[in-house]
Amino acid sequence: MITYDAVTKIFGTGREAVTALDNVSFNIPDGEIVVFLGPSGCGKTTMLRLTNRLETITRGNILIGDLNIRDTDPVELRQRLGYVIQAIGLFPNKTIAENIATVPKLLGWDKQRISERIDELLEMTNLEPEMYRDRYPAELSGGQQQRVGVARGLAADPEILLMDEPFGAIDPINREQIQNEFLRLQAKLKKTIAFVSHDIHEAIKMGDRIALFYKGRLVQYDVPEVILTQPKNKFVADFVGADRALKVLGIMQVKDTINRKPKNIINGSDRTQDALKFLDEKGFRYGIVVERGKPIGSVTQKILKYEECLVRDVVEPYPLLLKERTSLRDVLSFMLMYDAVTFCVVDENGSFAGTVSYNDIQRVVRESYADEAESNGDEET
C-alpha cells in the first residue's frame, strides 16, 4: 500500500513559490490501479514524482508499506519501484534486451537470470523474443516501443509500478489494444499501480479508483462509478463530461442489471396455442423460447395466434446473444441497431442466463444518479 499523508509540495521560494500540491492525503491499496487524473498543472505528475523521490516532498509523508520514503536512499528506492513514462524513454543506444535489463543490471542479477527474464517479459508483452531482443528502439513502432517500456518497468518484478501517462504517445487504436493487454497482464500480476492520466476515458477504463486533482488539491477520490454518478462539485462534473451517463454505461456490465428469472419463458417443444394461452394469462406480449437450456429466439402473441404447430417452428431467432461481461453501453447500441428492447444473456456454454431490457438499463442509470440529486444543492459552487 502507498499512503500519502498530508503531502505538500512547494516549488521555488519566497515570492516565486508555487504550491503544486496542497495537503493531499489518500492511499493506494495493494494490487489496485489508482489513476491520478486532472488537467495539466493539477499536480498529478508531481505526486508521482514525489513517490520515487524524483522531486523532494516539502511537507507531509509518503509511506510504502510501513516504510517512510524519507528514510530511504533515493537510488535504492527507485530501483524498487517500476517506472514507465509517457515519452517511453527507451535508450536509443541500447538494444531492446539491454533496455529491459536496466534495473536487473543495476540490482546486480547474473546474466543467465537477466536473459531468462527478458524473454519472459517480451512474451508477456506480446513481442517475439527472437525477433526483438537485439533490435534497437528506432526499429520499432510506437506501440512496440511502448510495450518495451512497460516490460522495462516490470523487469525486476517490482511490487509497485509508477506510470506517467504511459500510453499517451501512441495512436488511439494501438492505445486501446495496449490498454487491454495491460489490463489482462495486471489481472495476473496484481501490481500496486499509480497511473497518471489526463484522459477521463482512460481513467475509467484503467482505474480501480480515480484520484481527481485540481490546482494542487485532491478534489475527489473514489471508484469510477461514483466519480461519474456522484461528482462532488461542478469541476468534477465538467471534467467527466456531459455524456457521463453514457460513460457510466461503459463501465457497467450486463451482470449489473440482468433479470435472471424472466417469467415469459416458453419451451420450444410446446404447441403454439398452449404457449399463446400461457402468455395471454400472464399478460405478456411475447415469450422467450428456450430449448434444452439454450435460448433460440422469441415469439409474439400475434405470431402464435394464427399458427397450429410447435413453437420452435415459428420462432424468430435473436440477432445476437449477450454475455454477462458485455458493457451496457454496447447493449444500448445493439438495441438501437437491431430495434430491439430486450436481449437474452447466455453463459460461457451458451446456456440461458437471463435477459436485459431497455427498462432495466434505464433503471440502473436512474438509481446511480439518485444520490446526486440530493447532494447537488449544497455542493455546487
Binding site: 527507485r78 535508450f91 536509443p92 528506432a138
Partner: protein, 208 residues
Amino acid sequence: MFLYWEHIWIVGLALLIASVIGVPLGIYITGHDQVATRVLNSATVLMTIPSIALFGLMLPILALFNMGLGKVPAVIALVLYSQLPIIRNTYTAIKNVPPELVDAAKGMGMDRWKLLREVEIPLAIPVIIAGLRTAAVMNIGIAAIAVYIGSGGLGVYIEQGIARVYPEMILSGAILVSLLAIIVDGLMALLERMATPAGIKLQRTLAR
C-alpha cells in the same frame, strides 16, 4: 620528415592534455549553470587572443621557470585554444540528451555516474569527438605559428622561407600544414563515426 612528426607530436600532446581537462570540465559544468556561463565565457575570451600575442604574454610568465621558449609554451597555448571547442561541444552534447531519457534513467534508479556512463556519454560521444576534431584541425594551423617561439614543426619551412624571401619554401610549408590538417580531419571523422553507437546510427538513417 622529422619536422612533420614534430608537428604531429606537439598537436597530439596538446590535444590529449586538452581533452583530459576539457571533457570532464564540460561534463561537470552541465550540472552547474552559473559556473558553466563563466567557464564558457573564459574559454571564448581565450580563443579571441591572437596566437602571437598569447605566445608573447606567456613568455615572461614561463620565463620564471626557465621555459619561456620552445615546445612547452607552444603546447600550453594549444591546450588553451582547444578548450573552447572541446568544452562547448561536451557541454552542449550532454545538455542535449533528451530530458525524458535522463528522467527514465534516474527514475529507474541510476546514480549520477551510471547515468553518465550508460546514457549521457554514449549519446554525446559523436558531438564530443566533433569538438576534438575542430580543436585538432585548428591547432595544426596555430602550431605552425608557434615556430616563432622555437617550437619546431612544419612552421620552420614557412619561417625560413620568409627569412630567405624564398616563396617556394613558404608554399611547400603551407601545403604540408594543410595536407596534415586534411588527413587529421578525415581520421577524426572516421573516429567520430566509429564511436557512434549502432542504435543511434540506425535512428538517424530511419529518421530520414
